[in-house]
Subunit: 262 residues, 2 copies
DNA sequence: CGTTAGCTTGAATGCTTTCAATTATTGTGG
DNA sequence: CCACAATAATTGAAAGCATTCAAGCTAACG
């Protein structure tokens, strides 16, 4: 159906079928990466009612001003949040990966303040917000896991503010690539330094507060340095430490080891 | 003790003494602005154990990497969150006003990903995180109010990403001033178009991803247009609608009417 | 009344954008 | 399987917004 779907997504598709908890197991895995959940908690999540739906690149599942009643969870593919300025300028304010819940905030805020769109072909589960709310009431550990998810996303947003506000174009791009590397590693569980990132240069521009033309120049510069490769229309990371050096990347803000307590 | 304290803060100091619920009443009022709380809920919050502490401009109450055990709540004065890039560049990633809880995230994330510092002379209540946690368990409405607080801050962060990523310097500044107007209005309850904003030009630069020199030029431009005034070393908003026009400001992202449901 | 932090200003520089075309890739329909 | 359409990538040159540098000014504080 598409070459837009990343290798990661394909791996996810395949892997998921071998797990015990059904389509939502990837959500459970994501939550487990930062929060403890008992077997019963996990089963309760897996048992949430849901429909599976496929969307194509650019399609929207939520628009600013909407009042949502379902929470989409990414099963495969990438999605993003965007805001649009009155002059048409677009800013991507978050990137979501497989296992991420896309709209937990609508549990508590009644009007969406941004759009949610698909970056690639996507498979998602749609969960009724009411069911999630009941689950959070019945199972405090689940409520806590959801809250931590929200907090980590907020932390990433703060780092993006620093990235866009205070780093030059090359460092911004390198920093984003480092972040994606780490986040994808977490869900793919196979640490490879070879990731395919399905972002067009225009999307990179909207992510980083730059123009496509300038992104192009930065991408080529990173390529010339051997830090990235560019198969077909996406990026691969070839030299992570080089990217980390350029952007002074430190992954603390991802809170990946939250479980360890201290 | 200082001319740094804004008129708002002074008004707050005065107002607080007339309320029933003690020092934390301002926190309760803030939560009530977006979440329903029963009288019992409010009393339970007011009864939280706490110490009152004063800090001066620039002082820090939390540093990146710290593991907090207390949650500071602003009683008067302004504070901010900041992140520092490796080259020394500083980005202010959030501004906190009286009534705001400064570090709820440490309830769930074990290491701070940013610093919290005081913008003005500040009076704050320090609440043990353990006490807050118990309260959230005992009183779901309080837990919900706290979560909404966190979500609204995240929404503001997204708008800042759009602001810094996609608006020019003049619009960025105007947008920030509009936001502050609305947020201050909420807690001051007296809607005046005349607010004193105690930000130096250097701080404005760190808020908006610009340099102090350029901020100076933009401030003077807004002044020349009659949109702002500049008593001593702060700003006042003289023409809010002009600022809103410059920045195409829309306050939806502040979620101020969350209570109304639809 | 000096000291200091903050504000102001001009000029030169530069990073990024804008504009305008061209080239490459992917997907589609015949 | 090829031609065509559409999207994405690329490139050079000019323009502009913002930064940097450097210096002088102002106002608050002790």
């Amino acid at each position: 159906m598409s070459s837009d779907v990343t290798r990661l997504s394909q791996w996810m598709d395949h892997h998921r079928t071998r797990m015990e908890l059904g389509p939502l197991s990837i959500l459970i895995r994501k939550l487990l990466s930062h929060s403890p959940l008992s077997t019963a908690d996990q089963q309760a999540i897996a048992a949430l009612p849901h429909k599976v739906r496929r969307l194509q690149p650019g399609e929207s599942i939520l628009r600013e001003g909407d009042q949502a009643e379902i929470c989409p969870v990414l099963l495969s593919g990438f999605a993003y949040r965007q805001k649009v300025a009155s002059d048409g300028g677009r800013q991507i304010v978050a990137l979501k990966l497989p296992g991420d819940a896309l709209d937990l905030q609508s549990l508590y805020l009644h009007k969406a303040d941004h759009d949610i769109r698909m970056l690639t072909n996507v498979e998602m589960a749609l969960l009724p917000l009411a069911a999630i709310e009941q689950l959070t009431i019945a199972r405090p550990a689940v409520a806590r896991a959801i809250l931590i998810d929200i907090l980590v996303e907020a932390s990433i947003g703060r780092e993006w503010l620093l990235n866009i506000g205070r780093r030059n174009a090359l460092a911004r791009l390198a920093h984003l690539l480092c972040e994606l590397h780490d986040r994808v590693s977490d869900i793919a569980s196979e640490t490879s330094e070879y990731f395919e990132i399905p972002l067009t240069q225009e999307q990179l521009a909207d992510l980083l507060g730059l123009t496509p033309v300038h992104i192009n120049r930065m991408v080529r510069q990173l390529e010339k340095m051997g830090a990235i490769g560019r198969p077909s229309r996406s990026l691969t990371i070839l030299n992570l430490s080089e990217l980390a050096k350029i952007s002074n990347f430190s992954s603390a803000y991802l809170h990946r080891n939250n479980l360890s307590g201290v």
